[in-house]
Amino acid sequence: MLSGLSNLRDARIRIAKRIVKELHAGAVVNLGVGIPSLIQNYLKPDSHVYLQSENGLLGMGPTPPKDEIDMNLISASKHPISLGIGSSLFSSADSFAMIRGGHIDIAVMGALQVSEKGEIANWAVPGKDILGVGGAMDLVASAKKIIIAITHVTKDRTPKIIQKLTYPSSGTRAANLIVTEKALFEVKDNTLLLKEIAEDSSLQEIKQLTEAHFIISDDLQTMKIN
């Protein structure tokens, strides 16, 4: 058994694996940096999930073998990638027209904080340098569905799922789903609904490590990864 997942790497992998199950065949998905970028490793080749990379690609394939690396073909995380079958290449303007026009089914993104209404803070920390926003706000505003992939607490065990954002928000649009290594929440009618608890966690632990109010699903499940 996973013993409390003291290992951050295992926690991140678990989150990625759980989110894979949310990506239905045919879905056009944008994966953010950090945990979301791990998801590709766990997608089955026949999943028919199409990865959009905001730097100008639909149909991102996995990391190529070393002798096929071409740094003219990179992901938004700036890692070398390959072209999947039926992929297409386009400019940043066309890529964000795709994002902003509502043509991305699911955006999976990291966050610094999520509020109990599902609001997202994922680009800046108060008092620190605000030097990067990237495509986060474009995705928050316009993706059809937003899945947040975060560890349940920070390294110093501060909750990330909190009552009100204290960090700058990334938009007025709320997340639809929050997946941590301990739990899965759905955001419904401005409220968090706890739907799954990891087998090595407990309702007591979730309550302790979640500052936000949440309600518990009548159909509370154990989180299944594989």
Binding site: S53, E54, N55, G56, L57, D67, E68, I69, D70, M71, N72, L73, I74, A76, K78, P80, L83, L89, F90, S91, S92, A93, S95, F96, A97, I99, R100, A124, D129, I130, L131, G132, V133, G134, G135, A136, M137, D138, A141, S142, P168, S169, S170, G171, T172
Partner: protein, 236 residues
């Protein structure tokens, strides 16, 4: 070789002579993918082209691409979407040596397209309710709030394409396309750095991304070669 027949071809040095102190430059690339390395390196060796305002998604990487131009103290201000990953940019900003204006990546791409397409400005949902929206005009359309974004133009654009034909038509390589095609439309003077110049008529008309009338000058990348998939500076 047909390179001599490209009337738009100039040297990187002559290209950089057109840049004036205090100029605004659109510079293509995402990180260092699709970056006009030869032109940028040539600017670092110039003394006149300083106090530049650079409009580009990033400032390259630390010591690479626009990152070099930052170290050589040619940049006064950077307008883009993501500077966090270049530690030199963060340091320069902290030291008050670099001004930064952040624009969400999609708004940046669209604003440059608008600047090249005669669009004065447009309304987008991106950034509504955030610090990015501060001081920006808000307006509701069908119950949703949008913010107003102005088009962006610059005096010069330095872009990177894979190939030019001798007329100046451009094609790009994979995700090295990124911001380059829009930037080609949104400046008074457009200088395209390319890895190769081919005969006019050899590029498929369906596949040309930047028609020749957008390109004023063509500069051949003669400082970097692709080794193991990466652009590596040639040993002189």
């Amino acid at each position: 070789m047909t390179i001599g027949e490209c009337k738009k071809r100039i040297s990187a040095k002559d290209a950089v002579k057109m840049i004036q102190k205090g100029d605004s430059l659109l510079v293509g690339g995402f990180g260092i993918c699709g970056t006009p390395f030869t032109l940028i390196d040539t600017i670092t060796e110039s003394n006149h082209a300083r106090e530049l305002t650079i409009i580009s998604n990033n400032l390259g990487e630390a010591g690479k691409g626009l990152g070099k131009l930052l170290i050589s103290k040619h940049i006064k201000k950077a307008i883009g979407s993501y500077f966090t990953t270049n530690r030199d940019a963060v340091k320069a900003w902290n030291n008050g040596e670099l001004e930064i204006e952040l624009i969400p990546q999609g708004s940046l791409a669209e604003a440059i397209r608008a600047g090249g397409a005669g669009i004065a400005g447009f309304y987008t949902k991106t950034g509504v309710g955030t610090e990015i929206a501060k001081g920006k005009e808000e307006r509701d359309f069908e119950g949703e709030t949008y913010i107003f974004v102005r088009g962006i133009r610059a005096r010069l654009a330095l872009i990177k394409a894979d190939k030019a034909d001798t007329m100046g038509n451009l094609v790009y390589a994979r995700t090295a396309r990124n911001f380059n095609p829009m930037m080609a439309t949104a400046a008074d003077i457009v200088i395209a750095e390319v890895d190769e110049i081919v005969e006019a008529g050899t590029l498929d008309p369906e596949q040309i991304i930047t028609p020749h009338n957008y390109v004023d000058y063509v500069v051949l990348n003669d400082r970097y070669e692709k080794i193991g998939g990466e652009y590596v500076e040639r040993t002189k």
